[in-house]
């Protein structure tokens, strides 16, 4: 079995977002970058499946050279090798096309990624890749088991979940609780240094969207405090002052 996990390289969830260069760029000063938390769930489940069934596990990132520590961490967690498509991942269609291009050469059985990146929150790449490969794409997947070449899955829907079955190959956007996040051990970190990381130039680069300017939300006004013994007045305030009831 061949598994591909696609990871993003994004600001840590605690980052205070700021922009620079006339609000056209993220101010990366002091920002800690990580693999997206959803991607981490996908990778964690892929590692478990590799342990259970035996598989080759490749990680892929579309990004510039700065993303290599994030890729090395994925190798330290248990991926066998890595591919970096050397480009700024600015548009979902562009990223999906790069991934699909690699998939067409390698015939992966499972292509896993996070349900969405936490920078642009698009949640599009798995769907576009699925379409480009002509295979099903499903998201958000919260449970994944394999029986032969059939995947048994749970997908979150509004107010619950649906259970699904489909033949491989599949493209899946993952979320918790598909697996527990893993922490690399010393042996993993040492071996990651020598695992193959292939750098490839992008194929057929084209973008369909382009972000021209970023903005921060307006500052929040002060919080109106209500004494605990007058808690019941909150309902009046919500009804007559905030007008939300």
């Amino acid at each position: 079995m061949k598994i591909l996990v696609c990871i993003t390289h994004v600001p840590d969830t605690t980052t205070k977002i700021k922009f620079t260069n006339g609000d056209t760029q993220l101010d990366a000063n002091g920002v800690q970058f990580i693999a997206g938390p959803y991607d981490d769930y996908a990778l964690s489940r892929a590692i478990e499946l590799k342990e259970q069934f035996g598989a080759s596990l490749t990680v892929l990132n579309v990004g510039t050279a700065e993303t290599e520590p994030t890729i090395r961490k994925a190798l330290a967690l248990g991926a066998d090798d890595a591919i970096r498509i050397d480009a700024e991942p600015t548009d979902a269609y562009f990223v999906a096309e790069q991934i699909a291009h690699i998939c067409k050469q390698n015939n992966y059985d499972l292509i896993l990624m996070g349900r969405e990146s936490i920078d642009f929150n698009g949640g599009q790449v798995h769907g576009i890749v699925g379409e480009m490969l002509g295979v099903p794409s499903l998201s958000p997947i919260m449970k994944l088991d394999l029986e032969g070449n059939v995947a048994k899955m749970a997908r979150e829907i509004e107010g619950g979940k649906e259970y699904l079955e489909a033949k491989l190959p599949l493209v899946l956007g993952c979320q918790e609780p598909i697996a527990e996040w893993k922490i690399p051990n010393m042996r993993g970190i040492m071996s990651a240094r020598t695992k193959p990381l292939q750098v490839i130039t992008p194929a057929n680069p084209q973008e369909l969207t382009k972000s021209v300017r970023f903005e921060l939300p307006p500052a929040k006004g002060a919080c109106k405090m209500i004494p605990a013994d007058q808690a019941d007045t909150l309902i009046d305030l919500l009804k007559n002052e905030a007008k939300v009831l």
């Binding site: 499903l138 079955e165 969207t209 903005e215 919500l238």
Partner: protein
Amino acid sequence: MSVLIFVETAEGKAKSSSLEAVAYGAKVAEMLGTSATALVLGDAQDLEGLGGYGANKVLHVADSRLNAGVIQAYGNVIAQAVEKENAQVLVVAKSALADTVAARVAGKLKAGLASNVVALPDLSNGFVVRRSIYTGKAFANTAVTSDKKILAIKKNIYTVTVTDAKASVESFNANLSDADFGVSITSTEKATGTVSLPEANLVVSGGRGLKGPENWGVIEDLAKALGAATGCSKPVSDLHWRPHHEHVGQTGVKVSPNLYIAVGISGAIQHLAGVNSSKCIVVINSDPEAPFFQAADYGIVGDAFQILPKLIEAAKAKL
């Protein structure tokens, strides 16, 4: 040319977020000087009524295999409808289903997809939309440069006015093959009789401060008195006090209701990421230093178990 709006249904009725999408799409059509077509899949009621939200026409694919949200089949039908209507813009209301389906359509039609759109497009210089990014911490103004464009709009961003206009209904036979149904849905588990969290205008959410699942009665009673959905923080769903679909935040459901009441939630940045586009936030917490108060409009410092019964009583008396 036209604007096509995909209307998602639940038990045959258009979801409120989709009605908002119809109104939004009708406005975009007006801005572009064209007409708005709503697309409904599977068994559905009151199709003419979508005219009240601005749709000129409703395309209905009455194929009962589409009663369940089969992602590949939906993507295929919507792409065919885009072609049939020669739609320049496709509008969907963001949801777990619509996001995935819109992505398939984007791949099929080579259409630029802007997600989490929070305002009408600016047509003064190309086609630029404002969208929420970094899980609500910022906005991007994004130009969609492809011929065909897809907008996935966030809930509660467009004011809907309803008229009694009726839309004409046309049935549409899309070409579907068995391959479109290659994924089988073996069973579904769904909470019934409660307000759906992503669709809710009002949300009451509880955190670890409630101490245990046995104490959720006050959250449910307040939600019931207000007609609100219930939510929770991540540790609460990790501990299985509440089901995962109630988990709000960075790694859970992102909500944008008119009112979000947070009870016993500290306000970690990852939780705030899921609620920061709420119109009004109320925080109830025993710790006056809880970071959530900085993101709140109204706050009460005190013990949830003393405060909530008073709120439930007041809500029952006054609403």
